[in-house]
Subunit: 355 residues, 2 copies
DNA sequence: CTGAAAGCGCTAACAG
DNA sequence: CTGTTAGCGCTTTCAG
C-alpha cells in the first residue's frame, strides 16, 4: 500500500509529521515550473531565464533539496564516478596516490569511490563487483594480477580501467605506473656497487602482491647477475608493518653469517629493521646497510636518514585519474604511461665494514 | 534518438558490434522467467525453486551480469551505504578508524563511501552534499564544528549521523568518541607532575579543527590550574606534518628561555620535534621532555620511544558504524557513547634536568 | 526558453 | 513458487 508522497495541500517539509524529503516534483510544483526546468537549472542553467532560475533556486534552498544521484545516474547513464581499489589504507604511500586521484577527479567533477581489499583477492573481486554495480564509469586498480574472469567482467560491463603501482612487463593491460623490477634493481645495484656480497631481502608477500614479486625477482636476478647466489634463508616475505621488518632483521642478525646489507622493499619494514639493529647494537650503516622503498616522509625522520627508492605516487595517481577520465569521455581505452623512480641515497648505506 | 536496447534477435552480449550491458530484462527473457523472479534470485533466493534458480544463475554468470545498484536503490529506497567524512588520509590515525568502520559495515552488508575534506569546511560541506545525493543511509563525521545549516540539511534529508573524534562537551549531538580535553589534560598533568614549569605546545590549527582546540584549551587550563602562566610564544598551531613539528621546535629552542617540555597534540608533530632536538644536540628526555598524542605504531619505533596518549581509533570506528547501522534500521538517532584514552608513559619524558 | 511524455533498470505489492 | 503491474526520481527528446 503506497501512501501519497506528499500531503495534498502541497505543504512540503516542515509541516505535520514526517514530511518525506523533497523531490524534483515538489520543487517544480512550488516554483510553478516543470520538472524539466528544475533539471535544467542544475544541468544547463544557461538555458533557463534568470528570473525562472532565481525562483527555482530559492525553492531549492528553502527545502534543502538534495537531488537524487541514483535517479540521476539511472536516467542519464552517467554517474560521474570513478572506482578505486587499493590494498590498504594503513600504508601512507597509498594515501598519497589516493589523495592525488581524488583531487584530479574532483577538478573535473568526478567523485571517487574507494575500496580497500586488505590484500585479499576475493575481497578485491567483491569490491570491483560492487563498484561496477554502482556504475562507476572507470576503475583504477592496484597491480595487475587477478583472475581472468574478473577482467572479463569488467570488459563485459564496458568499464575502462587503468592499472597503477605496477607496470606490466608481460601482457598489455593499460597501466600508468612505474617498473618495480627496475626500481628494485637500482636499490640492489647500489648495495652491490658499495661492495656488499651478502645481502638480505625483506619484502611483501609475493603470492598476494605482484609488486612484491617484481621486487623480489629483481633482487634475485641482480645478485645472480653479479655472481652472487641469493641465500633463501636471507629472504623474508612479510606484512608491511614495522614489527615484521623488525622480526625479520632479528632472525637475520641471529644467523651465523649475517648479511652486511638488507634491501627492504618497503620503508615501513626498513624502519622496523633499523630499529632492531639499534636495539641489537648493530650500527647502521657501519655494520649493516639498509635500503628502503617508497620514500615515505618518515624516511627523513629516522636516524640515520633512510636510503630508499622514491616512487612517483602523487604523479601516478593524478595522471591515472586524468587519463581514465579522458578515456571515458573519448570512449576509448586508457593510454598507458610509464613513470620513473629514483634511488635516493641517504645515510643508511655504506661499504661493508670488513671489506 | 533512442536506439533499441538490444538487437531484435535477442542475442545478448558477445555478438555483433557493442552489445550494451545486460539488464534484468535480458536475463529474465533468456532464462524464460519474469524480471521479478530474477530479482528474487538476488534478494530472496529461498523463495525461488532450485531449478529456476540454477537456470537464472547460469544466465547471470554467462553474461557477467552485474545488477544496477542505482536502479536498485531507487526502487527499494535502500542504498545500504554509509558516508564517512575524514579530514585527511595522510595521517594513519584516521586509517585505523576508517578500516574499522569499513569492516564493521561490511559485516552487515553495508558499503562505505569515503570523503576527504583536507580540513576545509567548504570541501566538507560539499562532500556531505554529495553523500546525501548518493542517498547514503547514515553519515559518520569527524568533529562537531560546522555551520548549522549543514546540520539542518542533514536533518531535512532524514539521514542519521554520528560524530567521531570528538566528544561534544556542549550541545548534545550524537557522538561516539572520546574527550580530547581530558586526554590532553592527562598529558599535561604528567609533565607538570614531573616537575616541569615551562612547557610548550605544538598542536593543529584550532580554527579548522575542534579537536585541536579542545587540546589547546586543556593545555592552557591545566597550566593555569597549576599556577603556571601559558606563554603564547610557546604555543604553535601547525599542520600535522613532521616538518611542522620540527620547525616549531626549532623556534622554541632558539628562545632565550626555552621550555623543558613540550606537549605535541599529535605524534607526527612530536616525532618532527624529537628529530629537531636530536639535530640540535638537545637530549630527549634529559634536556627536553616530549609527549605526543595518538599512539601511532611509529611511536614505538623512534628512540627513545615516545610517551603519548593512546586513542581508541579502531574501537571508535567499529562502534560508530555499528551504532549508526542500528539507528538506521531502528529509525532512531544514534545512541551516544564515550570512550576512554590512556596516557602511555615511555621514554621521552623525565623530570627537568636542572630541577 | 519551457513543458509533456517516455523511459533508465530495478523492486514490491498483489494476485494467481 | 511465479508473473503482472506500478512506480522510485530523474533526464531527455521533441514540440511549442
Amino acid at each position: 500500500m503506497r501512501r501519497p508522497r506528499l500531503a495534498p495541500d502541497g505543504a512540503a517539509a516542515g509541516a505535520s509529521g514526517a514530511p518525506s524529503r523533497a523531490t524534483i516534483h515538489d520543487i517544480a510544483r512550488e516554483a510553478g515550473v516543470s520538472t524539466a526546468t528544475v533539471s535544467r537549472v542544475f544541468n544547463q542553467p544557461e538555458k533557463v531565464s534568470a528570473r525562472t532560475r532565481d525562483r527555482v533556486e530559492a525553492v531549492i534552498a528553502r527545502h534543502h533539496y538534495v537531488s537524487d544521484a541514483l535517479a540521476r545516474g539511472l536516467a542519464s547513464r552517467r554517474s560521474r564516478t570513478l572506482g578505486l581499489v587499493i590494498p590498504t589504507i594503513m600504508n601512507s604511500i597509498y594515501a598519497s596516490s589516493t589523495q592525488a586521484i581524488q583531487q584530479a577527479a574532483q577538478e573535473v567533477g568526478y567523485t571517487v569511490l574507494i575500496g580497500i581489499s586488505e590484500f585479499s583477492a576475493d575481497e578485491e573481486a567483491l569490491l570491483i563487483h560492487r563498484l561496477l554495480e554502482r556504475r562507476v564509469q572507470g576503475l583504477i586498480l592496484t597491480g595487475r594480477e587477478r583472475r581472468p574472469d574478473l577482467y572479463e567482467k569488467i570488459r563485459h560491463n564496458r568499464t575502462p580501467f587503468v592499472i597503477t603501482w605496477r607496470q606490466s612487463r608481460e601482457a598489455a593491460l593499460p597501466s600508468i605506473s612505474f617498473d618495480n623490477y627496475r626500481a628494485a634493481q637500482a636499490a640492489v645495484a647500489h648495495l652491490i656497487a658499495l661492495g656488499h656480497r651478502r645481502i638480505g631481502l625483506i619484502c611483501g608477500r609475493s603470492d598476494v602482491n605482484d609488486r612484491a614479486l617484481d621486487r623480489r625477482r629483481a633482487f634475485e636476478d641482480s645478485l645472480q647477475a653479479a655472481g652472487l647466489t641469493p641465500d633463501p634463508s636471507l629472504i623474508f616475505e612479510r606484512s608491511f608493518e614495522f614489527v615484521d621488518g623488525r622480526a625479520a632483521m632479528h632472525t637475520m642478525l641471529a644467523r651465523p653469517e649475517r648479511p652486511t646489507a638488507v634491501f627492504c622493499a618497503n620503508d615501513i619494514q626498513a624502519i622496523g629493521a633499523m630499529y632492531e639493529c639499534q636495539e641489537a647494537g648493530v650500527a647502521v650503516p657501519r655494520d649493516m646497510s639498509i635500503v628502503g622503498f617508497d620514500d615515505l616522509p618518515i624516511a627523513r625522520y629516522v636516524t640515520p636518514q633512510l636510503t630508499t627508492i622514491r616512487v612517483p605516487a602523487g604523479e601516478m595517481g593524478a595522471r591515472a585519474a586524468r587519463a581514465l577520465i579522458d578515456a571515458i569521455e573519448a570512449g576509448e581505452e586508457v593510454a598507458p604511461c610509464a613513470l620513473v623512480t629514483d634511488l635516493v641515497v641517504r645515510g643508511t648505506t655504506a661499504p661493508p665494514a670488513r671489506a
